[in-house]
Symmetry: D2
Subunit: 164 residues, 4 copies
């Protein structure tokens, strides 16, 4: 079949090298200003156009009552990965706001490290849809899918906002 499941790559007006360098720095600077990411120990480990990865070492301070990674922390990392994936396909002077996201929790957050990948499924001038997946990683086995996310992001220019 000619339909592929893969993520639709971002295309619009982002071809030149200068821009490419620029978006990586912009995303890194923004990520570094997110105190919440530092608080949970999240690291920005990969930034491509339309795809961003965040990694998180297991830490007891992030657990739920059974000692696994808290669903809220999984969601925070997936939201961040999806949001920065959207950042990578917009104009340098625009910004991104998460309107909503949905997370499916598939397996307990049990592992030594966690990887969260956000990818742009649908770029757009106003609305961007990102999908994400979270994996638990251990020394003694393959990465395990623990969660998926779909998020809707809004591109903000100038003073517009979703604030009532």
């Amino acid at each position: 079949m000619f339909f592929h499941h893969a993520t639709v790559g971002a295309t619009s007006n982002t071809g030149d090298r200068e821009h490419t360098v620029e978006f990586r720095e912009r995303i890194r600077r923004s990520f570094d200003r997110q105190a919440a990411m530092a608080t949970i120990g999240a690291e920005l480990t990969r930034v491509e156009q339309g795809s961003v990865e965040i990694e998180l070492p297991f830490d007891e301070k992030l657990t739920q009552q059974h000692g696994f990674l808290h669903a809220g922390i999984i969601s925070a990392a997936l939201d961040a990965a999806g949001t920065y994936a959207a950042y990578s396909v917009i104009d340098p002077d625009a910004s991104i706001l998460t309107i909503e996201f949905k997370v499916n929790l598939m397996s307990p957050g049990r592992g030594e490290r966690f990887l969260f990948r956000g990818e742009v499924t649908k770029p757009g001038t106003t609305i961007i849809v990102s999908d994400g997946r979270g994996y638990a990683i251990s020394q003694d086995g393959p990465a395990k899918l623990i969660a998926s996310m779909t998020g809707t992001m809004m591109v903000i220019r100038g003073r517009e906002g979703i604030e009532g």
Copy 2:
């Protein structure tokens, strides 16, 4: 009209006083074991049958890049409120697992304190649906709705699980 929008109260086999006392303690103990809640500074401030409230003082370590409460932290608190609301309507020997949840972020997380209320919309023997709302609270104005959540929870008995 005779249809009301209000939350459907939980009813089944939970009438006796002993049980009522019991579920509050059980929820409090479980909440206290969630290290992630302590890490973000969340407090369990109200536990009723079918309704749980969690409060969170603003803290710079929980912010996103513009200095507001991070969407992931909002989601973590809403998920916890919805999960414990579900806990309040199940048998003492059962447990709750969040299968999925969706969060709508409506206004920036700007405020001195935040209140997150989770309520059971649909009790059930296997699946429970909870809804939640998050509010920003400031001295100088009314509480502001900043987020809503709908979550699907699964009642776990014995060793069953959603792990593949």
Copy 3:
């Protein structure tokens, strides 16, 4: 407590009587142009500012394999109710586009009639959030909650759109 669970009423610049009359007609005209609503037999039975009701008689042609109302039909009616609730709070020259919605199916679609109510939870100049509930109605018992919905709508003015 001073926080209420109720739907936030729409307020902005919609006070005058002329407008009030106008939005009812506009919604009714738009609904009548939705051929899909006629195909499934849906009727627009109530239009208030921020709240719209759609009713649907049971029909065998709308069933799933067990003879109950199909989840897709439930979703179609809930989406329409939520979308028209959003229509009721926007300027006469604007339009509404559903960006996304989530439906929880709580009980089988078993009944003689079904009522779907959409309500605006968060009005806004660009993004509107609507919530909805679906009920099965029978002669011999109370209305039963069968589904809930949260939808995100975008206000469209002029030629903007979410098309990539």
Copy 4:
């Protein structure tokens, strides 16, 4: 990288040829009993283990007010595709119930035909997560992604259910 975005194939106890033949027939029979699918003109065009496709010719009776395919019809077809994808990975004597699903509408439903593909992202003994994508197909251009879905399905055995 060793993490792939692709759909996780279903694996458990479904290897023998007899079963393979069986699930196709079972899904086809169930689909044929869904009167709603016939009403909207949906055809089951492909059934593989963990992946199901449904196609729909454009029909004016399925439109919203601007003449495009109604979001509710898109959702109905995506839900069905995701549900039958889940059917393809369960035991012959079990059944599937959609607990909830979320749909993102990305582009107007404009086209001559529409293809909806549902795929199992996470198989499980009790909970199955399916993802879906909808495409508009026209003679004069490539297929266009118009919608995505994530749905949570529950495996039903014997008399259990989510009915309260």
